[in-house]
């Protein structure tokens, strides 16, 4: 089974540890993982900013880069959602690509979804001493149905307890360019998330998307919370955090 890892632009630039953790988990489960070297971005920033043509070019690039993989797996609900939920509409002007787009969307999986529903992963190498709370990222949740999968996986991490926040499905305020164009509104939305997290008393918030991660961590720190960790579930599952013990 040949798996193409779609690393995503934010993991590549900001938190490569998450990409390496995803590799570790997939290879540990016996998969052959390839990482197409020319990959850059799924096109979402352009798509959501109205730059359709630019987004189409990048979507076609992804289509070619992963053509030979049995599965495409990505540690991001929003990039996975972009491919699975939006490529068919984005590329609908190219009927000659329809079959290839269908093939890609059918083979593309968000990492937690893949680990649970394709690999049926039973054991994870990670250990974590403490309590965490889980934030459901909008795209993963509403476009891909990622909800129980990361929680199931976290429950297998030795030493870790998950405690739910009051409204885990509430948006964190990121929204891509929204967070820059409407920074003050975005920060206020993030405040509700920060309060929600604080209400659980958990030492860390775990999630599955880099955008939410930057938004939540950035706001927590500006509010003076230097303690609460913000972690991707892949890091926790792979034991790549300082709390691995």
């Amino acid at each position: 089974m040949r798996i193409g890892l779609f690393v995503t632009c934010l993991v590549d630039l900001v938190r490569p540890r998450i990409g390496l953790s995803a590799l570790k988990l997939l290879e540990g489960a016996g998969c052959e993982v390839v990482v197409p070297a020319t990959q850059t971005c799924c096109g979402q920033p352009g798509y959501n900013s109205g730059e359709r043509a630019a987004a189409q070019t990048l979507a076609r690039k992804v289509l070619e880069e992963f053509a030979l993989c049995d599965y495409v797996v990505t540690p991001s609900g929003s990039c996975g959602g972009m491919i699975k939920a939006h490529y068919p509409e984005l590329l609908c002007e190219f009927p000659e690509l329809e079959a290839e787009v269908q093939r890609l969307t059918a083979r593309t999986w968000e990492l937690a979804d893949f680990l649970v529903n394709v690999l049926g992963l039973q054991d994870v190498p990670g250990r974590f001493q403490g309590t965490v709370t889980y934030h459901d990222c909008c795209s993963g949740l509403r476009e891909l149905g990622v909800k129980s999968q990361p929680r199931q996986l976290l429950s297998k991490v030795s030493g870790l307890t998950v405690t739910e926040m009051a409204t885990p499905e509430q948006c964190c305020g990121f929204g891509g360019m929204f967070a820059v164009k409407f920074g003050a509104i975005s920060a206020r939305i993030a405040d509700q998330k920060c309060n929600d997290i604080a209400g659980t008393g958990a030492g860390a918030v775990v999630l599955g998307d880099l955008g939410c991660m930057l938004s939540i961590e950035g706001r927590l720190r500006r509010r003076g919370d230097t303690k609460t960790k913000v972690l991707h579930f892949a890091e926790v599952l792979a034991g790549a955090t300082d709390d691995a013990g």
């Binding site: 590549d12 900001v14 938190r15 990482v35 409407f182 920074g183 920060a187 950035g218 720190r221």
Partner: protein, 470 residues
Amino acid sequence: MHVSSQQFKRKAAEALANPQLHKAMSNLRARMVTGRAQSILELDNFETIREAAKQTRDFALAHLDYLLEEFERNATARGAQVHWAETGEEVNQLVLDIARRNQVRKIIKSKSMLGEETGLNHFLEAAGIEVRETDLGEYIIQEADETPSHIIAPAIHRTSEQIADLFHEKHKLPRKTDIGEMTREARMILRPHFLNADMGISGANFLVAQTGSSMIVTNEGNGRMTTTLPRVHVAIAGIEKVLPTLEDVSFILRLLTRSATGQSISNYLTFTTGPKQLGDQDGPEQFHIIIVDAGRTRVLGSDLRAALRCIRCGACMNHCPVYQNIGGHPYGWVYPGPIGAVLTPAYVGLENAVDLPNAATLCNQCGVVCPVKIPLPDLMRTLREKQVERGLRPWSERVGLRLWGWTARHPTVYAWITRIAARLGRWAGGSARLIRHLPGGSGWTGERDLPSPEGRTFRELYTARAKRHS
């Protein structure tokens, strides 16, 4: 109504700095969001009904020509007078003509968002006619000389303390703070107006083609009195409000009230079919229905058509993280929240509401709660594309996105730029690993830090790993 959607950012900033608004809006999530979530559990086939409602609304929109004529035929047969208005100005003029013909001096109104679109109250007042809003929320904002900030809870932006102050000032009675007592006071003030008004104006939640009825969904009883007490009644409704049959209305109502306020059913459902008939105890002597286009056919023929399915429940705004924090006024026209971000540019012009389709995280909480499945984030994205096509985006944004697009298509250049950015970012983050000020990125770092990159890109680390392994 005056359009001030181009001041969205300034007004949103004011809203964020308004602690009273914050307090008032905190009720919204607690009441509306929780209420909806609980009430849909009463139905074991909510999603099936939702799909059926979507299809029924789509069917109606596809057969508007037929259904509206059927409606006119049946309404006329029952003695109602049907008028057609292409623009908001025509609506206002028609209402004024009817009022003048009947020597009307005072009008009582039940809530109508279409009336807000056309600026009906101010138009009639300028013509010397007294207009009284009778829905409690509408009454409050009329007294405060404000505009509605929510389509079903127009005064949601005000705390009960603020309303107590307003009533005290306007009613010249001892200040009350108990909500029940304040409501009784408003009722006492309004009662004589109900009894001596010459004309009633209502909106319509639906027009029923099968029976020629217009119908409204209300909780306070004011709608029932507005449609029955005065001798002349005028209902105004957009062309999209028509449904084929009473069956259709009744099953869609199961979604409407639950989605709106979390009620299984509202206190009043009022169907008005023709004027007072022989033997009827009450009802208006004349019943006029004004069917209004005001931009709707243009939307019907566009890629925003799905927005016309809207049944005005307000669930999209109740669940919107942006609306929850800034309220409805910054949106600058009649309809706030996600549906407003689509309808406002569609009705008043994209160039007059540039921020609205962009002022959303596209979290799709609105889309999943919409009882008629309007794909609101998709429609906002469509409007964003139109803005780019029409050159309505700032040049800096366009250049930035072009540069990003070009770089992302050239992996070698991309790898170098990210390599440098990862190192620069790591350096800028210092020992705290946080970037406090990002040059050119104050939108982000104005109110939050930017966690700094780890220092090397995944690409580099992966290549290094591959070399070690070989």
